[in-house]
């Protein structure tokens, strides 16, 4: 019998971890501007343009990409399990729509309020991400209330509420788009297509901590996630408190998605595609699928962002365009090749 054992866990996660480390280094060294590495290291603390490019402009961005790519992929995995639907993705819950709307409203009405935290070393931290997160929370509560039937979160209703809510939010955003001026419209695009351009290490650290905590918590539920994909009844009969689990997964993933969208806008496709690709490679057991998807998502977004920076240099593309553009066809190709076969490992 071929089953998931410790050896496979260590092997897969180890390889992915190494690939991730290499990707971070590579992506930090790549960009539209040529970097003189030696000079960057020599006077790292002085006002050295190479050091600044590497450590102030690129590295925070790469690290943020890893965290958000991993977080989106992990949320995609658990949402596909929760909704028992391989087509589920973080955008479906309505949380990302609410976060985008919150961020856009923040951008329109008070774009320049700053948090009273010393800028400079840490970059500026504005109220806009907080407005976005507030939007995420409100939409989470809203969708939750509408999906609750007899005290249980029914996956079907959750999916429906999320989709309808998103459609409504999209209409509101389009309305706002038609009344803002040209310059604010650029900001809107950022929210809708995602961008990783932040320089504040504090923000990056915060997001990292938040996402890693969320991820570890979800990973601990790996076995229950396996069971819940067998169907709600079967899961109950095998020992899972399904009602509680559904609530917990919904809240945890909503909070994670809300935080991520607040900082980087809605970066789509990662949460849909990475879980599928990893499922084809390592199988459907969530105890391995979750960490593997987390790491693979980080690698993927890291490279996607590098492409976003390099493709149309000196202009940068919103990273969401790159993820959709390259992710989609690659996924189709993989499905075509591997669809009917067993997992590779």
């Amino acid at each position: 019998m071929k089953v998931l054992d410790r050896r496979k866990m260590i092997l897969v996660n180890g390889v992915l971890l190494i690939l991730l480390a290499l990707s971070v280094i590579a992506c930090a060294l790549l960009g539209p501007v040529r970097l003189d590495l030696a000079r960057a290291w020599q006077n790292i603390f002085a006002a050295n343009s190479d050091a600044e490019i590497l450590f102030r402009a690129r590295l925070p961005r790469v690290l943020l990409g890893v965290a958000i790519g991993g977080g989106m992929a992990a949320c995609g995995v658990v949402l596909q399990a929760l909704l028992s639907n391989p087509l589920a993705c973080p955008q479906m819950l309505g949380v990302s729509g609410g976060a985008s709307l919150g961020g856009i409203l923040g951008l329109i009405f008070f774009p320049n309020w700053l948090l009273p935290i010393a800028s400079g070393l840490l970059g500026e931290i504005s109220w806009v991400p907080l407005a976005a997160f507030l939007g995420a929370l409100l939409s989470m509560i809203f969708v939750y209330r509408f999906s609750l039937f007899h005290g249980r979160l029914h996956p079907y209703h959750l999916l429906l509420s999320g989709v309808i809510f998103n459609a409504f939010i999209a209409a509101v955003i389009m309305f706002l788009n038609s009344i803002v001026d040209f310059y604010q419209a650029q900001g809107l695009l950022f929210w809708l297509m995602g961008s990783l351009s932040t320089r504040a290490y504090l923000t990056v650290a915060f997001i990292w901590g938040y996402i890693v905590c969320g991820f570890l918590w979800l990973w601990a539920k790996g076995l229950s996630l396996n069971l819940i994909t067998l169907g709600e009844e079967a899961a109950m009969q095998l020992g899972v408190e399904t009602a509680a689990l559904q609530r917990q997964i919904f809240v945890a993933s909503s909070l994670m998605i809300g935080a991520m969208v607040s900082v980087s806008g809605m970066i789509g496709f990662v949460g849909l595609m990475v879980p599928h690709v990893m499922r084809l490679i390592v199988g459907g057991d969530h105890r391995l699928l979750l960490p593997a998807s987390f790491l693979a998502g980080g690698i993927f977004l890291c490279w996607a962002d590098t492409l976003a920076r390099v493709l149309l240099a000196p202009a940068e593309l919103p990273v969401g365009i790159v993820t959709a553009f390259f992710g989609g066809p690659f996924f189709l190709y993989l499905l075509y090749r591997e669809g009917g076969k067993k997992p590779a490992l």
Partner: protein
């Protein structure tokens, strides 16, 4: 038997055509030689009309038309990208003026179908702007006013050119958006203004007029002057935003400015003024008033790029 209605229909048809044509030419013949009721689809057009002395002929402006002050009291016909066809028709204009670099060409076709006369101007380059001022003056029946205005602007531009001529070009970043960082690119009049002001637009070789710039690019291009311009919103202390990138000369030397006005962002009659204000930011040493009797502007020559 059934031929009879057709026989009648033909001459009836011809007669109605004749009547229609006569009516149309009658209408044209009785309209004034120059348009008296004008709708402006763009703030820059509104400013131009007022500057040329045609402010009293304007019957409709956009919600963004805020200069001069009188413009704010005029009836509104919608926004810049989405003017309201109904509102425009409601004002019964003789002429609607819009700009090519927007959604106006498409709207123009709709308006012409309703019998409204539409004229479009190009405002991509400085030359375009000056030409368009003259075109508008001609259409409205006062070409001399157009000449005067364009000459005035040309003089303003020349004055600035002379002032900054001795100084070497200075790498400049002109940003019109912050999150995300949107910079002025190439092939547009603002880029020309930067060049005329003695600056070197760091994003000037880009093909797009606006582009999102990654921070690392700005660091690499090391501008000596950073100007944040934008419509409307208050931005306090732009310098703070850039503080962690001290290797950029503009940050190190504290030459990060916030330029509130849209004089340089609107392709209208105030670009000359805007140019001077920008040049003062890019080359302040060329505008230092003379001290100890030295000629004004002579402090310019020794300045670093």
């Amino acid at each position: 038997m059934s031929y009879r209605p057709k026989i009648l229909a033909a001459p009836l048809f011809v007669v109605s055509l004749i009547v229609l044509a006569a009516h149309a030419s009658f209408v044209q013949a009785t309209s004034a030689p120059y348009p008296q009721r004008i709708v402006s689809l763009s703030p820059s057009v509104t400013e131009t009309l007022f500057a040329l002395g045609f402010g009293n002929r304007i019957v409709g402006v956009t919600t963004y038309c805020d200069y001069p002050a009188e413009a704010r009291k005029l009836p509104k016909i919608g926004g810049f990208t989405n003017p309201s066809l109904e509102a425009i028709v409601g004002q019964r204009p003789d002429l609607v003026i819009g700009v090519n670099e927007s959604s106006h060409p498409v709207k123009a076709r709709e308006m012409e179908r309703l019998g409204i006369k539409v004229a479009l101007i190009s405002v991509t380059s400085l030359n375009d702007i000056l030409n368009s001022i003259q075109s508008i003056a001609r259409w409205l029946g006062n070409p001399e006013a157009g000449e005067k205005l364009t000459q005035k602007i040309a003089r303003q531009i020349d004055a600035v050119k002379k002032r900054v001529a001795p100084a070497p070009r200075r790498a400049t970043l002109l940003a019109v958006g912050i999150k995300p960082l949107v910079a002025v690119g190439g092939k547009n009049f603002i880029d020309e203004l930067i060049t005329l002001a003695g600056g070197e637009n760091i994003a000037g070789q880009a093909a797009q007029p606006w582009l999102n710039l990654p921070a690392e690019y700005v660091i690499a291009k090391a501008p000596r002057v950073i100007i944040e311009a934008g419509m409307g919103s208050e931005r306090e202390q732009p310098a703070k935003r850039w503080q962690d990138l001290k290797s950029i000369p503009a940050v190190k030397e504290q030459r990060v400015y916030y330029y509130r006005s849209d004089k340089i962002l609107r392709p209208g009659p105030r670009i000359g003024e805007g140019l001077e204000e920008i040049a003062r930011l890019v080359h302040p040493e060329c505008f230092a008033e003379s001290q100890r009797g030295l000629n004004p502007g002579s402090g310019c020559e020794g300045s670093r790029p």
